[in-house]
C-alpha cells in the first residue's frame, strides 16, 4: 500500500520537474533531492557569510568615502544573501544553527575562492568583477531551479550581484585609467584572481559525479565546463577593454567552436584548497569561530530577555 502511495508521490514529483513546475516546501520530494538541496543551498549561504571576510578586510582602508560606502553596503548585502539562503534551506527542515555549526566545525564547505587573501585595493575590484561575475554565471540559471524558495531567493540575490559586479568593474576601470602604479595594482590582482575564479565552476564535468543527477532534477541547468567556457568568453573581451593581460599564455580564440581555448587549470591547487590547505582556510574559520564564540553571551542574553518579556506579557494579559 505504502509503496504505491510513495510511487505515485514520486511520479507527481517527477511530473512537476518535467513540466517545470516548482517544488514547494510542503510538497513531497525524494530524500536525496532534499539532501542535495540542503547541501547546495547551505554551502551557498556559507559562501556569502565567509565571503564577507576578504572584502571586509578593506573596509577600514577603502581609498575614498564613496568607495567605503559602496563596499560597506556590498558586504552588508552579502550578509543579506546569507540570510535569504539560510531561510530557503530552513524550509527543507534544517535549522540555521545546525548549518552554522557544520560551517564552523569544517564539515560544511563554502566556495574555495574565499580562501584566497585580499592583498591590495585592486583585489576588491577583482573580486567584484571576476568572482561576482562567475557567481552570477552560476546563479542566473538557478533562478529557474526546480525548488521554489531557492529559485526565489536567487532572483533577489542575482539582482544585487549584478550591481556588485558593475561596481567591481568600475573599480578596475578607474585603476586601469589611473597612474602606472594603479594599473600595475590592477594587473597584479587580476593575475592572482583569474585562475582561482575559473576553479569556482567546480571540477571538470567528467570528475563531477553529482552533476548528472542535479541536472535531471533541474537543480542545475548547465554543467561546470559549459559555465566555465561561457565565463571565459565573456571576460576575455572585458579584460581587453580594460587593457589587462589575461595571465594565460595558452589563451586563444577558437573560430571553430566560437569560443576561447584556454590553458590547463591546476586541479591540484583546487583540491588542495578544498581540502583546507588554501592560504586563508584557517584564518577564515578562525574569524567565524571567534565571532560565534564571542557572540554567545549576546545570543543567550537576547534569548533570556525574550523569555522574560514573554512571561511578563502573559502575566499582564
Amino acid at each position: 500500500m505504502e509503496t504505491i502511495v510513495e510511487k505515485s508521490l514520486e511520479d507527481i514529483f517527477e511530473e512537476k520537474i518535467a513540466s517545470e513546475i516548482r517544488i514547494e516546501p510542503k510538497d513531497w520530494m525524494p530524500e536525496k533531492y532534499r539532501k542535495t538541496l540542503v547541501r547546495q543551498i547551505s554551502q551557498h549561504a556559507h559562501s556569502e557569510i565567509v565571503g564577507m571576510l576578504p572584502e571586509g578586510n578593506w573596509i577600514t582602508r577603502a581609498p575614498s568615502l564613496k568607495r567605503k560606502a559602496i563596499l560597506l553596503a556590498k558586504v552588508q548585502d552579502e550578509a543579506g544573501h546569507g540570510l535569504y539562503l539560510y531561510s530557503a534551506a530552513e524550509t527543507l527542515g534544517t535549522s540555521r544553527d545546525q548549518m552554522f555549526e557544520d560551517l564552523l566545525s569544517g564539515k560544511a564547505k563554502y566556495s574555495s575562492i574565499f580562501n584566497y587573501p585580499t592583498l591590495s585595493w585592486a583585489d576588491v575590484g577583482a573580486i567584484g568583477w571576476l568572482v561576482d561575475g562567475a557567481a552570477i554565471m552560476n546563479q542566473v540559471p538557478l533562478c529557474r531551479t526546480s525548488y521554489g524558495p531557492y529559485a526565489r531567493a536567487m532572483v533577489r540575490v542575482c539582482k544585487e550581484e549584478s550591481f556588485h559586479q558593475r561596481q567591481g568593474f568600475e573599480i578596475m576601470m578607474t585603476l586601469c585609467n589611473g597612474s602606472e602604479e594603479q594599473k600595475e595594482m590592477a594587473q597584479e590582482a587580476f593575475n592572482r584572481w583569474w585562475w582561482p575564479t575559473l576553479m569556482m565552476f567546480g571540477p571538470k564535468d567528467e570528475e563531477s559525479p553529482n552533476t548528472e543527477q542535479s541536472m535531471r532534477w533541474k537543480i542545475k541547468r548547465f554543467t561546470n565546463d559549459e559555465l566555465r567556457q561561457r565565463f571565459v568568453d565573456m571576460m576575455v573581451p572585458q579584460a581587453e577593454f580594460l587593457g589587462l593581460t589575461v595571465p594565460d599564455k595558452d589563451l586563444k580564440w577558437n573560430e571553430a567552436k566560437g569560443g576561447y581555448d584556454f590553458g590547463a587549470i591546476d586541479w591540484n591547487e583546487f583540491w588542495n584548497v578544498v581540502k583546507g590547505n588554501g592560504p586563508c582556510n584557517k584564518d577564515r574559520l578562525k574569524a567565524r569561530n571567534k565571532a560565534q564564540e564571542e557572540g554567545a553571551w549576546v545570543r543567550e542574553a537576547a534569548m533570556a530577555y525574550a523569555e522574560k518579556a514573554a512571561t511578563r506579557e502573559k502575566k499582564s494579559a
Partner: protein, 249 residues
C-alpha cells in the same frame, strides 16, 4: 563662516570616526541580523559625514573635496569627541557607546533642524530619520543586555564603568560652539542635556542598570587632544590616499 566651517568639520569627523568603528564589526558581529544593523548605522553615519564634509569643503572654498578633508588631516586636526574613537570592545561596549551617542545625536539633530544655517538644518532633517532608528536600536539593546542574563548585565555594568566618562564632552561647548550658539546656528546644549538625562535614565531603569553617579568627565577630543586610539584608526583609514597621493579611486 570660519566658525561654521570648523564646526561642520567637527560634526563630520564625529560621524566618520564612529562610522569607522562600527564598520570594524562588519563580518564579525555576534548575530547576522545585528551585524547588518551595525553596518546600517555605520552607513547612515558615513552618509551624514559625507554631507557635512561636502558642506565644509564649500565653506572653505579652497577647492578641496570631501576626501581631502577626511583623508589628508592628521590626528590633532581631527575634532571628534573622545567617545566615538573608543575601541569597540565587546558587543555590549559598542551598544553602550552607541546608546550614549545616539541619544545625544537624536535630540541634537531635532534642534539643529531649526538652525539659521539652512544647509546644516537640511542635513539635520535628513539624518534625523536615521537617528531615530539608531536610538531605538541601541536603547532596545541596552535593555535587552541589561535585563538579559547575569553575564550580560555584568558586561553592561563594565561598559558603563568604562564609557560613562566620555559622555560629558558631548555637552561641553567649546568657544566655537558657544559662539555658534549665540548666533542661533547651533542649539544650546542645556535642553538637549535634560532630554538626554531623561531618556538615559528611563532606559537604564528598564534595563535594571544603575544610573552612574556624577563623576569626572574626560574631554579634549573637540580640541584635538585625543586618545592614543585615533592615530591607529587614521593610519588605516588614510593608508591608500597617503600611499598613492592625488589619484582617482
Amino acid at each position: 563662516r570660519q566658525l561654521v566651517f570648523d564646526y561642520t568639520l567637527q560634526l563630520a569627523d564625529t560621524s566618520l570616526i564612529l562610522s569607522h568603528r562600527l564598520a570594524e564589526w562588519c563580518g564579525h558581529g555576534p548575530i547576522l541580523e545585528q551585524d547588518m544593523a551595525m553596518t546600517n548605522i555605520s552607513l547612515d553615519l558615513l552618509g551624514e559625514a559625507r554631507n557635512l564634509y561636502q558642506y565644509a569643503a564649500e565653506l572653505e572654498g579652497k577647492g578641496h573635496t570631501e576626501d581631502d578633508l577626511a583623508y589628508l588631516r592628521d590626528a590633532v586636526a581631527y575634532k571628534n569627541p573622545l567617545l566615538v574613537e573608543q575601541p569597540n570592545g565587546n558587543f555590549g561596549d559598542t551598544v553602550l557607546r552607541q546608546f550614549i551617542f545616539d541619544t545625544f545625536h537624536y535630540f541634537f539633530l531635532k534642534e539643529l533642524q531649526n538652525s539659521t544655517d539652512h544647509r546644516l538644518a537640511a542635513i539635520a532633517e535628513k539624518s534625523l530619520k536615521e537617528a531615530s532608528y539608531h536610538i531605538k536600536w541601541s536603547s532596545e539593546w541596552v535593555i535587552r543586555l541589561g535585563d538579559g542574563t547575569e553575564e550580560s548585565k555584568k558586561r553592561m555594568e563594565a561598559a558603563i564603568d568604562e564609557l560613562w566618562t566620555y559622555s560629558g564632552e558631548l555637552f561641553e561647548a567649546t568657544p566655537t560652539e558657544k559662539a555658534l550658539q549665540e548666533l542661533d546656528i547651533i542649539p544650546d546644549y542645556t535642553s538637549i542635556k535634560a532630554e538626554w538625562d531623561k531618556h538615559v535614565a528611563q532606559v537604564l531603569q528598564e534595563a535594571t542598570l544603575a544610573l552612574p553617579q556624577d563623576q569626572w568627565m574626560q574631554s579634549g577630543g573637540k580640541y584635538g587632544r585625543h586618545s592614543e586610539h585615533l592615530g591607529y584608526i587614521l593610519s588605516d583609514l588614510q593608508y591608500l590616499q597617503r600611499t598613492y597621493p592625488g589619484q582617482k579611486w
